[in-house]
Point group: C2
Chain length 203, copies 2
């Protein structure tokens, strides 16, 4: 295996992540995944004996966890460059998400939302996988906000709002092919955080 | 045609709306739509010569417009019963959405989001249909908020946040089978509206 060339299993999972993100679960066939991964069709069953179900579940968990980590790293790096201003950092993170989305032709938004919408009523194992990932994101967000908003319920509410505004803005921005919803979501998230910090200071 | 029994075209569109909402676009086959509508398979092509594409586009527009009207009627009726308090009305509307979602076993949320996520990068006519519906909702929301927040940009931002928080909360609540995300989204929306009204009063 050449250096920098991911192994077949990783290529399959990376290709699946891209396709699920863009086309959803039912719209993504295994043949297409094998072709995009430049892997023999049979290798999918070799690495994922449970077939599409297993591949999707592992992809949702892997891509979901990686995405949550990336968002937190972005928030921390913005915080460093913005004089520890969390309100400004949150607004800038949504601007960065808008730029990234526009740069991919409004294709690559959340890695799990398309699947989450499709499977919630029809595929219990995949529903649980998406719920676990959303739960991870909320927990990580709660810890991030707790630095300025120590009240646990308030920090948890902010974390939910961050994830919900991002998911809602992604679907509107993709549909309209317009950055505006993501930018407005960032301003709303900044308002919510500013309000929560002011409440904390008054308490 | 018996009284109270919708005609075949309406039954096909109603069945399609339920299935798209629960299973998405790729996950919904025409055979299943015909079966649920208790209609001959061929009648789909009779009423929708463009097949699944035409049926989906008309369903997105019809169900989307009806849903937006229903949410506005709910907001107005809450306003009547809550002494014209828009902040409380918004929070209660999210509670009602949470109750409705739980009552359907966390199946029936937004009628167009699952389709919107799937088609944004793959089906231009359907992408435009979902964008048009989201746009209608934002415009209607902007007019509703303008009664208390006359600044147009501020009212438009509130309308976006209402739609985005609702969409984000729907996907989290469905995945977790839990009302909490919708309730927290309602509280955040109430905070955003209260803040915008206070700003208006100070201006």
């Amino acid at each position: 295996m050449g250096e920098g060339q991911p192994d077949t299993r990783t290529r399959i999972q990376d290709a699946a992540a891209v396709l699920f993100r863009r086309n959803g679960y039912s719209g993504t066939g295994l043949k297409r995944i094998a072709a995009e991964a430049d892997a023999p069709f049979g290798s999918i069953y070799h690495f994922f004996p449970g077939g599409k179900q297993q591949l999707t579940e592992e992809t949702v968990r892997t891509a979901g966890t990686a995405y949550g980590r990336m968002v937190l790293e972005l928030l921390d790096s913005l915080l460093d460059s913005l004089a520890d201003d969390p309100v400004e950092s949150v607004a800038k993170a949504f601007e960065a998400a808008a730029d990234d989305l526009a740069a991919t032709g409004y294709a690559d938004a959340c890695p799990i939302a398309a699947v989450a919408w499709e499977v919630a009523s029809t595929n219990e194992a995949l529903r649980v996988a998406t719920a676990d990932v959303f739960g991870e994101w909320v927990t990580a967000g709660e810890q991030w906000f707790a630095r300025w908003v120590p009240d646990r319920d308030a920090a948890r509410s902010l974390a939910h709002s961050l994830v919900m505004l991002l998911e809602g803005a992604f679907v509107l921005s993709r549909a309209a092919r317009d950055r505006e919803p993501l930018l407005l979501a960032g301003q709303s998230m900044a308002t919510l955080l500013r309000t929560a910090i002011e409440r904390t200071d008054r308490a």
